[in-house]
Structure formats: structure tokens, C-alpha cells
């Protein structure tokens, strides 16, 4: 199993913080996208990212090359972290999401695209969390079926079925708001 981040492993094993920074330059955005889609809150998503990378940093010396890709490991830990947070607290209602996006630097979204964003995120938050994760892995980051199944801790067939159900449910929800 080839890992595009394998070049960082020797330095990560040695505890080189520069390697951690490089890993974040490469992978933080992906982990953050997944966490944001699952939680619907940018601050919670950032907290999950922090927990995930720190867990990796602490575990890095014991990393065994060939067991999994680093990104797969990160996404799996982040997904589980999101599930834990969702169980502990109710997610924000989607009504607040446009404000969250507006706070960002350069977030000059046109009204139409902002409404589209709101509609998608609202619909996503109405889906069961596993369907949400499956859709985000597939469409936000084009994660392979094999890796996505590994991240979610299920077989490839089960992931495929989850994706089919998620697509169907999301489309139905989006049609209600006439965004598909």
C-alpha cells in the first residue's frame, strides 16, 4: 500500500515538528472539510482537527508503515471524534451557517451560492451521520472506495450501499428546497 505521505514518516518517527507542519500543509484541509461537513460548525471542526493531529503526533513514533495511509488514519480518527461530539451535543441548526461562512476572510459569496451552501449543509445535517461522512469522503475529497470504507470501519460493499442511500436521501432533501 503506497502512501503519498510516506516521505514524512522518518522525520515524524524522529519527532521532527517540521514534518508535522508539512503534514498539516498537505492534509489539514481534507480533515477539516470532513469534520466541518459532519459537525456543521467551523470551530468544532477545528477542535476535532487539533485533537486528531495531536493524537497522530503522539502516536507517530509507533507508526507501522504499510498498515494504513496516514490520511486514512487521520480521517478515521477525525470521524470518530466527530461522532463523539455529535453524541455529546446537538449540532447547530443550519440557520447559523451563513454567518459562519461570512466570518471568513474573503468570503464574498454571492447570495445564490450562499443559499446553495446553506441548503446543502442543512440537508447534510439532516442525514444520518454515517451517510454524511460517506458523502463527504466521496464528493468533498474523492477518497477511494477502499480508503473510505477503511475510514468508516466497514466493508466496501457496505460503504457503497451507504453512499447510495446517502445520495438518494440528500437528493430528496435538496429537491424539497429546489436546489437540485
Amino acid at each position: 500500500m503506497s502512501d503519498p505521505d510516506s516521505d514524512l514518516i522518518p522525520d515524524l518517527l524522529a519527532g521532527d515538528e517540521r514534518a508535522l507542519r508539512t503534514l498539516m500543509d498537505r492534509r489539514l484541509a481534507s480533515v477539516h472539510r470532513l469534520a466541518y461537513r459532519l459537525l456543521g460548525d467551523e470551530f468544532d471542526a477545528e477542535d476535532v482537527c487539533q485533537d486528531t493531529f495531536l493524537k497522530f503526533w503522539r502516536a507517530a513514533p509507533g507508526w507501522r508503515t504499510g498498515d494504513a495511509r496516514i490520511l486514512t488514519w487521520l480521517c478515521r480518527v477525525a470521524t470518530n471524534g466527530c461522532y463523539d461530539r455529535l453524541r455529546k451535543s446537538k449540532p447547530d441548526l443550519p440557520g447559523d451557517m451563513s454567518e459562519q461562512v461570512d466570518r471568513r476572510d474573503g468570503a464574498d459569496m454571492r447570495l445564490e451560492s450562499r443559499q446553495r451552501w446553506d441548503a446543502l449543509q442543512t440537508a447534510m445535517m439532516d442525514l444520518p451521520e454515517r451517510q454524511r461522512a460517506a458523502l463527504s469522503l466521496r464528493y468533498d475529497d474523492a477518497v477511494s472506495q477502499k480508503d473510505a470504507a477503511q475510514i468508516l470501519g466497514i466493508g466496501e460493499k457496505a460503504y457503497e450501499a451507504l453512499l447510495v442511500r446517502g445520495r438518494k436521501a440528500l437528493k430528496a432533501l435538496m429537491q424539497e428546497t429546489e436546489h437540485v
Partner: protein, 94 residues
């Protein structure tokens, strides 16, 4: 349907994390000590402990499989043809 979905997600991308997040994680990482590797936890200690445990277990089985003194006497008595007599010696006397 899949292409529609891809278009939908492409047109509603999640904003990138704020730049400060990387610095925040780096600052937190600086205070964390990486865990020792699983194969780096004094393997000599584990092998020594395993050796001692194996010796104790083997010793127990060797001792428990040794014939007792009574069994040795019985065997000697059988070999000498005095097994019955020896049994009489061992028998309880009313």
C-alpha cells in the same frame, strides 16, 4: 445522479481552515511528548521476564511430574516381588 452530486458539492465547497489553526496545533504539539514506539519499550526487560516465567512454569511441571517417595518404594517393592507385602505394610490396621 453521481455527476449532479459532484456538481452540487463542487459549488458548495467547505471553506479552508483558518491559518491560525496550524499554528495552534503546532503550539499544542510542542507541549506534547510523543508516545514511545510499541517496539521500543525495553524489549530486553520483556524477554528476561518471559524467560523467568518460562523457567518457573517448567520447574513446576518437572517437580509435579517427579514420583513421590512412596511411589518409588512401591516400585522397588513391585520389582523385588514384595508388592503385596508392601501393600500390607501400607494398609490401615483396624
Amino acid at each position: 445522479m453521481s455527476e449532479d452530486m459532484q456538481n452540487l458539492f463542487d459549488s458548495s465547497t467547505v471553506p479552508a481552515p483558518r491559518g491560525a489553526l496550524t499554528d495552534r496545533i503546532m503550539a499544542a504539539a510542542a507541549t506534547q511528548t510523543p508516545l514511545p514506539a510499541a517496539n521500543d519499550r525495553k524489549p530486553w526487560l520483556w524477554s528476561a521476564a518471559a524467560g523467568v516465567a518460562a523457567t518457573l512454569v517448567a520447574g513446576f511441571f518437572v517437580l509435579s511430574s517427579q514420583p513421590s517417595e512412596a511411589e518409588l518404594w512401591a516400585a522397588q517393592a513391585d520389582a523385588a516381588g514384595f508388592g503385596e507385602l508392601y501393600a500390607w505394610v501400607d494398609a490401615e490396621i483396624d
